[in-house]
Each structure stands twice: as structure tokens, then as C-alpha cells.
């Protein structure tokens, strides 16, 4: 598998603030690559550097094996993007919006091509409507059409499900899977929701404060070996003692009472033992450690924000 | 003493003879002018006034007895000095409401002329004094200076050709006083090309020079042109 994107030691500073701090990662051909991080983690800044919207302070970005700063237009011709909210000319119709960006991507534009594209995102009926009157979901779909119209090899979607209703999120997920499975595109999708990414991505990276936390295949990272189990009972102290004196003692986590880490397959046995030990269970929650970790990032951010406020 | 008396008498009689001659000369000129009841003339007018930048204009001049005169630019706009009515000598010499004074001889160019001053008898007349320089041989006025109460003074210089019979000049230069021209403030935002403007002259005079190419005399002129 060849690397479509390789980012090496990327740094971006805005004045004294370091938005991206020595970031390196690789996206392979055919990947649906999840780019995870909290708001402000540096996702958008990295994506913007990959699209030449922002100049890196240091480091390099290679796309299709070429340095982005030197082969900008070659690379961008084969790249489609939707950055945060969709970018549209409100006073132009869906059709004209699509036509303009298709032409700017340097391809030959035909009415059929544009209408096919609109049909793919379910906007054929709204082709002549002005983008200004579109709902958020319609705008998002038109944004996707714009990103795809010139048949790019690499598609970069920054927070594509932002502001979508559950149905819209499901549609978006299906579309991305289609792009990858049926059309063999490489997709980079950024999000602040692990649950969203883990359903569609095969590989992912988590970044925080501009630095890489972890990168790898979703399978690996979401290995069931690292399932975290949180238990709540009517008498937590007694339960804690019970577990500490049993074979589950090895699985108990130090940081938090009544939290255990184990293989997902062991969870039923744990519940059985608890029930057998007459523990009055209120809840048992099994989740992946990465999720927990990710959650802890969120809560930390909330703490920081609460402190700042 | 006797000698002196004789001399004074002589001088007085010379003066009075001269006055009579002068009056007669004016009469002769008047008679010539009277031959013209009306005329229509065409010519070119050049205006030379500091604040006016205008082209040389093809003009028609209409005259009708006793004092109707109109200068018209057939093809465009023409700035006609208001005093230009007096380019017609009958305006100055017509009527008898003045005292004629002989002021001796003077030269206009190379031509010797008799200088005659006309003092209006009416104290309230606008014209205070007119001075005429008359070529006695040809019986034409070569130069006329007029001082007015209200409109400054102006001067006519004339040269004659074919129409000398009617005392109508071939070429006429009308010199007059002009005031400062000022545009109302703030109406123009002008392009300053950086060239220094000339210092304003103190006594501003303007000139209108008319070269006549033809006259049509006494063939009738419709009153409507003077409106």
C-alpha cells in the first residue's frame, strides 16, 4: 500500500501559540482515515495546511508523493475538500455553484456531469434553487458534491456531520463508505466524535494540543482486550472489597474505584460473579479504553474551560 | 498791449473757427452715417479677455437705425461684450446732445487726424466724454474713445476699405474694461496641473476684434433679430 499523504514533523505557530506541534502521520491509498481531536486540537489547522490555505511554520506535507508547496496545483487538481461548514455562493443556484467549482478544478464541465453529481447527493430537484435558501443538510450535501465533482483521488472532509440531523449523519456515513468501497477513494475525515469515526474509518489518529496522541488501525486501537468496565451498585465500598478479594483484583484500575479493564469476553463472567456475590447492581458499563481516554480529554477540556470562566 | 489784445482776439477767432470746423466735420461724418438705415454684416470675431478662452467666431452683425445692434454667432455661443452696441458710431455721434470741442491734431498710426471731443449736454447721460480721431481726407473715424459713468471706458480702433463711403470699417478693435471674473466658491473641483497661474493684472482690459468680410447695406433687417 502506497502512502497518499505523508505528513512529517509539521509545525504551525500563530504568534506565540503553537497550533500544530511536530505532527507526523501517514494516510495510505484506499484508507478512510479518521482524524480525531477535540475542538481546537489542531485538526482544522492541519487540514488547511494540507490544502495550502495556511503555510506551515516547519515540517513537510507530501501528497501523492509530492511536496505540496512545490506541486500545489497538480495535487489540488486531484484533491476534493469540504472544510468545516460548506462553502457556497448564496446568490447562485446549486447547479451554478457546482459548475463554478468544477471549472476551477480544471475539468471539462457538461450538464450531464453536474446533474449526475447532484443526483448522487440527492439534490437533482433543487438544482435551480439558490444555495442561500438551502437547509443545513442540503448545503452539506452540495458541499460534498462540490468536493467530488472533479473526481478527485483524495477527499478531505472536515467535520462533515456537523449540524446534521441523525438521518443526515447516517446518509453521510453511507456516502463515505460508498466512496471508499465502490469508488476506491482515499478519504480523510476529521471529527471530534470517536463513535462517528470508528464506524467508518479503517485507520485513525487522535491529536491533542497539536500533538499526536495515537495513530493506527481502528481494529488495533479498539482492541476488545482493552475494555473498561464501570460498575455502580447500592454499596460500592462493599463491592470494591469483594472484587479486591477475588480473582478480579488484577483487573481493578487504580485511578477510579469500581473500574476494571479486561477483555470484552470476560464481562459476562464478571457480572455473574457479582450477582452470585449478592451485589445489588445499579449499572455495568463496558466501553473501550480509547473511548474512555477520549472522553477524559473532553472532560479535561471542560475543566479547563470551566476554570477559565 | 494792443498787440496782445489782437493776439487774444485772433486766438479766440481761430479757436471759434476751429470749433465751427469741428462741428462741420462731425456733421459731414453724421451725413455719411445717415446713409445707412440698416445693414447686415458678416465677419470674424476674436475675443481677447483674460478669463475668456473662446474660439475665433464667425459672426453676423445686424444694425438698424437709430441704435439697434446685434452680434450673433451663427454656429455657436458667443460672448458679446455688453458695451459692444457702441461699435456703431451713430451711437456716439448720432443726435446733437453734445458740445463739440476741437482738440487739435494727432497721429493714429501714420495718419494725421483731427481730434474732436464731444461733451454731452445732458448731465445725467451715461457717456461723460467721447474723443474722436478723424481722418479729414477720407472723412472716416479711425479711433473713438468713450468714457462712461457706469460702464468704464472703451475704445474703438477702425480701419477702412470698400465701405468707407458709409463710414463702415473693414476691421474694428473694441477695447473695454473688464472686472475680475470669479466663480462661486466650491462649485468646481479642478484639476491642478501644477502650472503656476499668471499673476492677475490690475487694470484688466478686454478686446474684441471684428474683421468684416461683407456688408449688405439698406436691404432691410427684420426687427426680430434684435430680440
Amino acid at each position: 500500500m502506497s502512502a497518499i499523504v505523508s505528513v512529517d514533523n509539521l509545525v504551525k505557530q500563530f504568534g506565540n501559540f503553537t497550533a500544530v506541534d511536530g505532527l507526523s502521520f501517514t494516510v495510505n491509498e484506499g484508507d478512510v482515515y479518521g482524524f480525531l481531536g477535540q475542538n481546537g486540537a489542531g485538526k482544522s489547522t492541519t487540514i488547511r495546511m494540507m490544502l495550502t490555505l495556511i503555510k506551515p511554520t516547519a515540517g513537510s506535507i507530501k501528497i501523492f508523493g509530492k511536496e505540496i508547496l512545490h506541486h500545489r496545483s497538480d495535487i489540488l487538481r486531484q484533491t476534493g475538500a469540504m472544510i468545516e461548514r460548506p462553502d457556497l455562493y448564496k446568490y447562485l443556484s446549486a447547479y451554478n455553484n457546482l459548475s463554478i467549482f468544477a471549472k476551477m478544478s480544471g475539468i471539462k464541465v457538461s450538464k450531464k456531469l453536474l446533474m449526475d453529481q447532484l443526483e448522487m447527493v440527492g439534490l437533482q430537484e433543487a438544482a435551480d434553487k439558490k444555495a442561500g435558501v438551502f437547509s443545513q443538510g442540503m448545503k452539506q450535501r452540495l458541499g460534498i458534491a462540490v468536493a467530488l465533482v472533479h473526481n478527485p483521488k483524495l477527499i478531505i472532509l472536515d467535520e462533515p456531520t456537523n449540524g446534521l440531523d441523525p438521518q443526515g449523519i447516517a446518509d453521510m456515513r453511507n456516502l463515505i463508505l460508498r466512496l471508499s468501497n465502490e469508488m476506491g477513494k482515499t478519504v480523510i475525515i476529521s471529527s471530534h466524535l470517536l463513535s462517528e469515526v470508528e464506524q467508518i474509518a479503517n485507520r485513525m489518529i487522535i491529536i491533542d494540543r497539536g500533538k499526536k496522541i495515537v495513530e493506527g488501525s481502528v481494529e488495533e486501537l479498539l482492541d476488545p482486550e482493552h475494555t473498561v468496565v464501570d460498575i455502580d451498585t447500592t454499596n460500592n465500598e462493599a463491592t470494591q472489597q469483594l472484587l479486591a478479594s477475588s480473582k478480579w483484583n488484577d483487573y481493578l484500575q487504580a485511578e477510579k474505584p469500581l473500574q476494571l479493564m479486561m477483555n470484552k469476553t470476560q464481562v459476562p463472567a464478571l457480572i455473574n460473579d457479582l450477582v452470585a456475590g449478592n451485589v445489588q447492581l445499579l449499572s455495568v458499563k463496558a466501553s473501550h479504553s480509547l473511548e474512555n481516554y477520549f472522553l477524559s480529554l473532553t472532560t479535561r477540556h471542560e475543566h479547563v474551560e470551566a476554570f477559565a470562566n | 498791449m494792443k498787440m496782445l489784445l489782437t493776439m487774444i482776439c485772433c486766438a479766440a477767432s481761430v479757436v471759434s473757427v476751429a470749433q465751427q470746423d469741428a462741428a462741420a466735420l462731425i456733421k459731414k461724418i453724421q451725413a455719411k452715417l445717415d446713409l445707412v438705415n440698416n445693414y447686415e454684416a458678416s465677419g470674424k470675431m476674436k475675443t481677447n479677455v483674460t478669463f475668456l478662452k473662446v474660439p475665433e467666431a464667425d459672426v453676423k452683425i445686424y444694425y438698424k437705425k437709430p441704435n439697434l445692434l446685434k452680434i450673433k454667432n451663427e454656429k455657436g455661443i458667443s460672448f458679446v461684450p455688453k458695451g459692444a452696441v457702441s461699435i456703431n458710431l451713430s451711437n456716439i455721434i448720432g443726435g446733437n446732445q453734445y458740445t463739440v470741442i476741437d482738440a487739435g491734431m494727432d497721429k493714429v498710426g501714420t495718419v494725421s487726424t483731427r481730434v474732436i471731443k464731444l461733451l454731452p449736454t445732458d448731465d445725467n447721460a451715461d457717456v461723460v466724454l467721447s474723443t474722436l480721431y478723424i481722418d479729414e481726407a477720407k472723412l472716416v473715424v479711425l479711433k473713438a474713445k468713450t468714457t462712461t459713468r457706469e460702464n468704464g471706458s472703451y475704445q474703438l480702433d477702425m480701419t477702412y476699405g470698400k465701405y468707407a463711403v458709409y463710414c463702415l470699417p473693414d476691421k474694428l478693435v473694441f477695447t473695454f474694461n473688464t472686472k475680475d471674473y470669479k466663480l462661486p466658491k466650491g462649485v468646481t473641483f479642478d484639476f491642478d496641473d501644477g502650472a503656476a497661474s499668471k499673476p492677475a493684472e490690475k487694470n484688466k482690459t478686454g478686446k474684441a476684434e471684428i474683421s468684416f468680410s461683407s456688408y449688405t447695406v439698406n436691404k432691410g433687417v427684420d426687427d426680430s433679430v434684435f430680440k
Binding site: 468545516e84 471549472k103 476551477m104 | -
Partner: protein, 299 residues
């Protein structure tokens, strides 16, 4: 990417925007008001201009109010306001895209930033040209239809002097063509300035106001008639050259003070002004490119 194709896209966008037509409507309205006012009572205006010479000269006031004269009067006033109309479109060039969010997409297309600025500038210039053509149609040709033609009078103040210049009617049209061409260059400076300012903003209101303020402040300074400013400041303000189109109506004269058909009083001054304006355009567009190339698009 083909520049011509990009320009077509840009012009397409401009023609589809309602605000583009505000400028044309504004010009039409102002011109109509002038024409109506002069049709109704133009002689009062003439009397005002002639105030201090009316005792000495008589001339045909009706004939003096013709289409040529009207156009000059209208341009005299309108060309002070037109920069605002040019700014309305040009100041939106980059900031408007930033505001809508389209700038991100535009800049992530295989089009160089230099191309984007050049095309935006070209589009703003074309808009300016159309604006002036429309002014010519309404202020000049429509005035000719309404008021007819005739010799044209130009009232002018030069230093402490005031003067009236008369241009014969067969000598007028070429001056207007030249004047409109000059005005195009002058207004293109405004377009370039607006474009530069629009790079720094995320909405078009700021750059529009900034452009208008710069023009107004410089125009006021240009019109302070104090020698020290005249000599040391004025030559460096582009607004001093904006009214240079009038130079085409300052007709040359001979030693007798009579006008010479087809002549200009000071062609070198007009030519120099034109050069200075073009230099401004090149400089401002150059700065715009440099700034835009360096800019991080964060909108």
C-alpha cells in the same frame, strides 16, 4: 488554469449579484435628477456661474445648456461619488468570499493566489469600465438626446483665477472619449485599493468604508489651498490626479487668448497624471498579490 476561464467565472459571479446593479441604478438616478433639474431651471445655474460677469457680457444661456455641458456638470459631481460605487464591488472581492466561506474552497483549487488576485482585479476593472460606459450612455448620450448639442462651456478655477472656456461643438466628442478613458484609469486605482483592503477583512463593509474614508480624506487634503501642502503633500496623493480627466477640456489658446481647435492646454500634465495613476495601480496590485500570497486563510 486558464486565466480567461477564471475571469469568465468571476464575471459570471459579479453579474449574478444584486449589489452589482445598485451601482448602475444609483448612477441612473443621479443622472436623471440632474437632467430634470437642468431641464426645469438650468438658466439659474448659468446665472450663478456667470454672476460676476453678467454686467459685461451677454450670451445665449439656452444654447449653453446643451448635452455636452450637461455631461460635464454631471461628471463633475458624479465622479466624486463613483469611487464609492466601485468600492462596493471591488472591496468585496476577497472579503466577500471570506464572509461566505467560499474563499477556503477558492484557495484550495488548483489556481494560484496570484491568479486569484489578478482575476479579481481584472473583474473589478471590467466592472468599472461598464460603470463608466453606463455613465457615458446616460450622462452624455441621453443628455445629447434631451438637450441637443452645441458649443460647450467649461467653468474653471485655476489657483486664484476663474475662467470660462468655450469648446466648439465639433471639438467636444473626442475629449469625452479621452476623459472617460482617463476616468477609467483613475477609478481603477480605487478598484485596486479596495481590492487590497478587502484582503484584510472578513466582510465587505470594512474595506468599503476604509476605501471611501481614504478617498475623502485625501480629496480634502488635495483641496486645501495652502502652499506648503500644495508643494509637499498634494503631488503624493493619488486623489490629486483623479480629476485629471478635466484636463481634456482645458483647451489650448494662442497668444491672443483664442482657443485652438483640437488642442490641449497642458498635455504633459495629463500624461504625467496618467502615468502616476498607472504606477499606483501596478504598485497596489503588486502589494495585493504579495500580501495575499502570504496570507493564512483562517476564515
Amino acid at each position: 488554469m486558464n486565466m480567461w476561464r477564471l475571469l469568465q467565472i468571476e464575471l459570471f459571479k459579479i453579474t449574478r449579484r444584486p449589489r452589482t446593479y445598485i451601482a448602475f441604478a444609483a448612477i441612473t438616478a443621479i443622472v436623471f435628477i440632474f437632467q430634470f433639474a437642468f431641464k426645469a431651471d438650468g438658466q439659474s445655474y448659468m446665472d450663478l456661474m456667470m454672476q460676476s460677469a453678467k454686467d459685461e457680457f451677454a450670451f445665449d444661456r439656452v444654447e449653453a445648456i446643451n448635452g455636452y455641458f450637461m455631461c460635464y456638470i454631471i461628471l463633475n459631481t458624479l465622479l466624486i461619488q463613483v469611487p464609492i460605487l466601485v468600492a462596493l464591488i471591488a472591496a468585496d472581492s476577497i472579503s466577500g468570499e471570506a464572509n461566505m466561506g467560499t474563499l477556503r474552497l477558492l484557495v484550495s483549487k488548483p489556481v494560484s493566489r496570484t491568479q486569484i488576485i489578478l482575476v479579481k482585479f481584472a473583474a473589478a476593472t471590467i466592472f468599472t469600465i461598464f460603470l463608466l460606459v453606463w455613465m457615458a450612455v446616460t450622462a452624455l448620450f441621453l443628455s445629447i438626446v434631451i438637450f441637443g448639442t452645441g458649443d460647450m462651456l467649461v467653468f474653471r478655477t485655476k489657483g486664484t483665477e476663474s475662467m470660462i472656456m468655450q469648446i466648439t461643438k465639433d471639438d467636444v466628442m473626442w475629449r469625452y472619449y479621452a476623459a472617460f478613458a482617463y476616468a477609467t484609469v483613475a477609478l481603477t486605482v480605487i478598484a485596486a485599493l479596495s481590492l487590497l483592503l478587502s484582503i484584510f477583512a472578513d466582510n465587505s463593509i470594512g474595506p468599503i468604508i476604509a476605501t471611501v474614508c481614504i478617498v475623502i480624506v485625501c480629496t480634502i487634503i488635495s483641496n486645501i489651498n495652502v502652499p506648503i501642502i500644495d508643494r509637499n503633500v498634494k503631488p503624493f496623493l493619488f486623489t490629486s490626479y483623479l480629476v485629471g480627466w478635466k484636463g481634456f477640456f482645458y483647451i489650448g489658446t494662442n497668444e491672443n487668448g483664442n482657443t485652438i481647435k483640437g488642442s490641449l492646454e497642458n498635455w504633459p500634465a495629463i500624461r504625467n497624471s496618467l502615468m502616476i495613476l498607472i504606477a499606483h495601480i501596478v504598485l497596489i496590485v503588486g502589494i495585493s498579490i504579495a500580501v495575499f500570497r502570504k496570507k493564512d486563510i483562517l476564515s
